[in-house]
Symmetry: C2
Subunit: 346 residues, 2 copies
């Protein structure tokens, strides 16, 4: 890599109204490779993670992390290789996971390394795809959401929406491992088949099958009510599950992908059936995975063990080419991806 | 009392659509005094408690207790005197608290006594009105909701709606005693003045003052966000408080009086801002006071102490005459009552 090596980047050009499209970004075909500072590390991107949360990061206003600024490289997690290091903790060729952004090269200074923006990873524990999936943010979200917020325990009926998605697939498999009855909600027969036959969920409800599919599916597959609902989608599905809670149920609010593209960044309607929380003495609680950063190692160790012994599977949906970022991201919101969506860069 | 003594009763005639009115009940002017069985007790009603929850009990369908059946005496808690006893735990003249119903005389069998439907009370600890308020269901709801579900602790900012109502007045005073900053929400300057000047809340927001009153009031009185919101009302006020949560906030869903009169018994709209739970890693949890029945004695002892030493005040709004039950109940939903609403029977 020389001064002439180009660094392709997607920078946020404006705040999207509704779904993010190519016009909301500036594509820089020949940006400069960032400067490696004393104490820092320079990383070449190999695989980027595309996540529903990215849509929220594009909105103005108060949230759990600051929004991406206009003109800044779009924030994204990814896996890469160290191409140059001035930090004793990293050597050229090390595999790393970090907030690389939608670009070919990312530089991290000493302070960023200190706060954990980039970390070495062990490719013996998982492939790069798995490090963005079961061993990455989605897996961490599933692990702490299900166990620490949802308090899932053996015998519980656990329902998870977005069951074939990155977080959902790990939630369901982990719930099975912990002895729960596990019911997925996903869109279309292919995803539902995979969730049941490959991942071992007890059942999966195809919410696209009919307007009553979720209500009827819960009646059939959760006859004694839902003890834990891990919600990735919000909207009508959340409302339908609220009406089927078991006493003392826990709802984990992890996301609301059905609502993220609303222009004003707030859902158009709230959960009408929220008073089911009262009747059932139930709880609805939000979670942000970054709060558990200190405990990622314990979760990674446990989940890597399940990958190793075959009890946990991992499916990635790979889109090739950094230049296809905006369209790839759009697949998340149309439900067009099947498995954890990643963008192959190099 | 002889066989000729009449027992006035209000029986549920039909399921109300919207607000309950006189037409929804049959008034029995000369019903029979119920029969006293071996092991039972006969009670003459003195004071009845009128509560928002009563509206829910009139609806068909699954809830935390069975609905009142058509033709049955309307369920209500109350204070009375034992007029005849065939149970060694009760003597004629004993003051009791129990599920007396909207009637002059109530009989309890041995099984009902065993499960606690009627209990002796100590009028040295509180007046009959206080036994329906601070030392009754509203006080128990406030105590366990604020401390066990809301986990309020010194330094927290606690917001309570329906602040001048039965539950709200005790929530706010108890929060102050526990060292919280306490902000009430109530309708009209008279209630707000009383809550601040008599009960010692730090502030009270008059939600009727303007459409922006709650939003602006919270900005002023809860500048660092709301740690605990004790919700008695639901609707727009819940949505506005959701937008002002502090990190790790707890919302106690105790009731939703703004929604109880909807004909289909479900709110017309849910809380649009519920994703604030995610951003703030906050929790919304329902409670039903009956779950804490085993622990009422500890709460009563503590609250009676505060009544005794003057740190806790109690205000009742007394309507005279059993025959005025339907109109008295209506005051709850129009906000026409000022303090815990009770019906004086004898």
């Amino acid at each position: 890599m020389t001064a002439a090596t180009p660094n392709r980047q997607f920078r946020l050009a404006r705040r999207p109204q509704g779904a993010a499209t190519r016009e909301d970004f500036d594509f820089i075909a020949d940006g400069p490779v960032p400067t490696l500072e004393e104490g820092g590390v320079l990383v070449r991107t190999e695989l980027l993670s595309l996540d529903p949360a990215m849509r929220g990061w594009m909105n103005e206003g108060r949230s759990y992390i600051p929004p991406v600024g206009i003109g800044e490289v779009m924030r994204a997690g990814g896996i890469g290789r160290v191409v140059a290091s001035r930090n004793p903790g990293f050597a050229e060729g090390d595999a790393v996971s970090g907030l690389l952004g939608i670009q070919d090269f990312a530089a991290f200074g000493h302070a960023q390394i200190q706060r954990g923006d980039v970390r070495r990873i062990d490719l013996a524990a998982g492939t790069p795809g798995q490090w963005l999936n079961v061993l990455g943010m989605p897996g961490m979200t599933a692990y702490f959401g299900l166990l620490d917020v949802g308090l899932a325990k053996a015998g519980d009926t656990v329902v998870v929406s977005g069951a074939a998605g990155a977080v959902g697939q790990t939630v369901g498999q982990l719930a099975k491992i912990k002895g729960c009855r596990t019911v997925g909600i996903a869109g279309g027969p292919a995803k539902c088949d995979w969730v049941v036959k490959e991942l071992g969920f007890d059942a999966c409800i195809d919410y696209k099958a009919s307007p009553q599919a979720v209500r009827e599916g819960l009646k059939q597959h959760a006859p004694r009510g839902v003890d834990v609902y891990f919600d990735n989608v919000g909207g009508d599905i959340l409302d339908t599950v609220l009406a089927k809670l078991a006493p003392k149920a826990r709802i984990v609010i992890c996301g609301a992908i059905s609502q993220y593209n609303n222009a004003n960044s707030a859902p158009t309607a709230g959960p009408r059936n929220y008073l089911s929380l009262l009747v059932n003495r139930a709880r609805m609680e939000g979670m942000v995975v970054f709060d558990y950063a200190d405990r990622y190692p314990e979760a990674i160790a446990e989940l890597a063990g399940y990958l190793k012994d075959g009890r946990m599977k991992s499916r990635e949906d790979v889109v090739d080419g950094l230049e296809n970022f905006p369209e790839a991201l759009g697949k998340l919101f149309s439900g067009g991806n099947f498995g954890k969506l990643v963008l192959k860069v190099a």
